[in-house]
Amino acid sequence: MSLLVLANIEVRYGRLTAVRGVSLSIKDGDTVFITGPNGAGKSSLLRAIAGVTPASCGTIDFDGYNITGKAPEDIARLGFSMVPEGRDVFGSLTVEENLMVGTGMKARDRGWKAKTAEDLEAVYQTFPILKERRHGQAGLLSGGQQQMLVIGRALMTNPRLIAIDEPSLGLAPNITDQVYERLIALQSLKALTLLIVEQSSTRATLVGGRMLLMRGGQIVLDGNAREVGNSAAVQAAYFGYEDH
């Protein structure tokens, strides 16, 4: 069953078109990488799905609901959790407060308190460092810890799908490895759908799953990461002439 279906999405900033006519369908439980050179429109596509910068045309369905033009909070409440580029922790809040921000949307449910405490414990188990620093200011965490925090924060919302923009940006390779290790472990544990944007295709090739390659606002390649990972088409996409 398809969890996320995009039809003919277009994103514009003023007279600049960042995404042109992208159609795409993502199955429940998949791991999907979107790769492509800088300026290919990857982030714009994610932001459009999350409702941050609405698509100027096309439709988006998530979990059977049409979410085109919906507010980001409503999309989040359906189980779409977005981890934007640059991590965006709430620096002045403590680690634990950061984790709690997204739990409010279920606050009316019965047994919410116990459930939240349970979720919190689960996140702390996955990322023990967060427990250690839970009363510290989130802004003082290292880059890798912040990345863990935002993933943990996304998990606290009990999402169906986590979309992550450039999780490896600015991280040392061994930290990136750790982050991915945890992500993959979580995915199998919670039957999550992962939608990951990375500039380089290397990580996708390593991790596996489906890989989409974007260039000039369009999807130019779609296939199994391990198979298409280093094909000539990918090379062309990265090093070929750019005109947008």
Partner: protein, 301 residues
């Protein structure tokens, strides 16, 4: 000396509360709300019956204090929320400059609405007259009101801090103030948080109106303007979006004003404000992000 401390604190209290009202709204929607001063004026005029006579006809102003204070706070909060629903909601995606001008236009509408109902003549009102008695503390003889102002401000600040730190709504508001779009992506309801911010800010305006009204005994359609300006400046030098910074800067501005008045020679005293503003420029040059830069607050204006 002690007297000067009290003077600075009581003047700073007004600026701090004003700056807080502006910082709250700026935090969640990057709006510099120029209508804030007019909300202050409106909340106090609500105590009077509309009339164009010179003599004020007191209406709700005769309520006992335990009803009077909530009434004024509610009026401020209500008007502020109304502004958000009727006007600012339509400007969510507008540039800060556009919002700022819209808020100015809104303030203009409120001011002239008051002018139409009450004329421009300042009206007198005796609010909480029992506070006008002098008291003696540590050898400094000061008006009870000054003391109450400081105490009330402290109570408001502590209450607000507790609210922001201990409640879910406070948590969402702080998260939204730091990174609004991220908070929304975590399911925080934008409209609810923004309305909450407007309500708080409006209630603060009501509090200022109460204090200012009982201190001056006059209500005037322009009365919010001078506090609003200082508060606005305090918000910026405090670090836009930083509530603690706004409060700190508010008190500093109050202290700067009082100290300049004390130390400047008599001929230079009329130029006091020029010195205060000069100090503002210096602070900005050395700390353009403000005294307490709000982390994660990106430059968007």
């Amino acid at each position: 000396m002690l007297q000067i401390v009290f003077d600075s604190l009581s003047l700073g209290s007004l600026y701090a509360l004003g700056a807080l009202g502006i910082a709250l709204i700026f935090g969640v929607m990057r709006l510099v709300n120029f209508a804030h001063g007019d909300v202050i004026a409106f909340s106090i005029f609500a105590l009077l019956w509309p009339s164009t006579d010179a003599l004020a006809i007191v209406f709700a102003g005769q309520l006992p204090w335990y009803l009077l204070i909530p009434f004024v706070l509610l009026i401020g909060a209500g008007l502020s929320v109304l502004c958000e629903i009727v006007v600012f909601r339509r400007f969510r995606r507008a540039s800060p400059a556009t919002m700022m001008i819209a808020s100015f236009a809104l303030g203009f509408v409120i001011r002239y609405f008051l002018l139409m109902l009450f004329t421009s003549r300042p009206k007198s009102i005796s609010l909480l007259p029992m506070l006008s008695q002098p008291v003696e503390i540590f050898g400094a003889r000061l008006p009870l009101l000054q003391l109450i102002t400081i105490i009330a401000t402290v109570i408001i600040l502590v209450g607000l801090t507790l609210f922001l730190r201990r409640t879910r709504f406070g948590l969402e508001m702080r998260a939204a103030a730091e990174n609004f779009s991220m908070a929304r992506m975590l399911g925080v309801r934008a409209n609810r948080v923004i309305m909450g911010a407007f309500a708080l800010s409006g209630a603060l305006a009501g509090a200022i109106a109460m204090i200012f009204g009982s201190q001056t005994g006059t209500v005037d359609i322009q009365m919010g303007a001078s506090i609003m300006l200082m508060a606005f400046i305090a918000t910026v030098i405090g670090g836009l979006g930083s509530l603690a910074g706004a409060v700190l800067a508010g008190f500093l501005l109050g202290a700067a004003s009082v100290i300049m008045q004390v130390v400047l020679p008599v001929d230079a005293r009329p130029f006091r404000d020029a010195f205060v503003y000069g100090a503002v420029i210096l602070v900005l040059l050395f700390r353009p992000q403000g005294l307490i830069a709000a982390r994660g607050t990106k430059e968007r204006v």
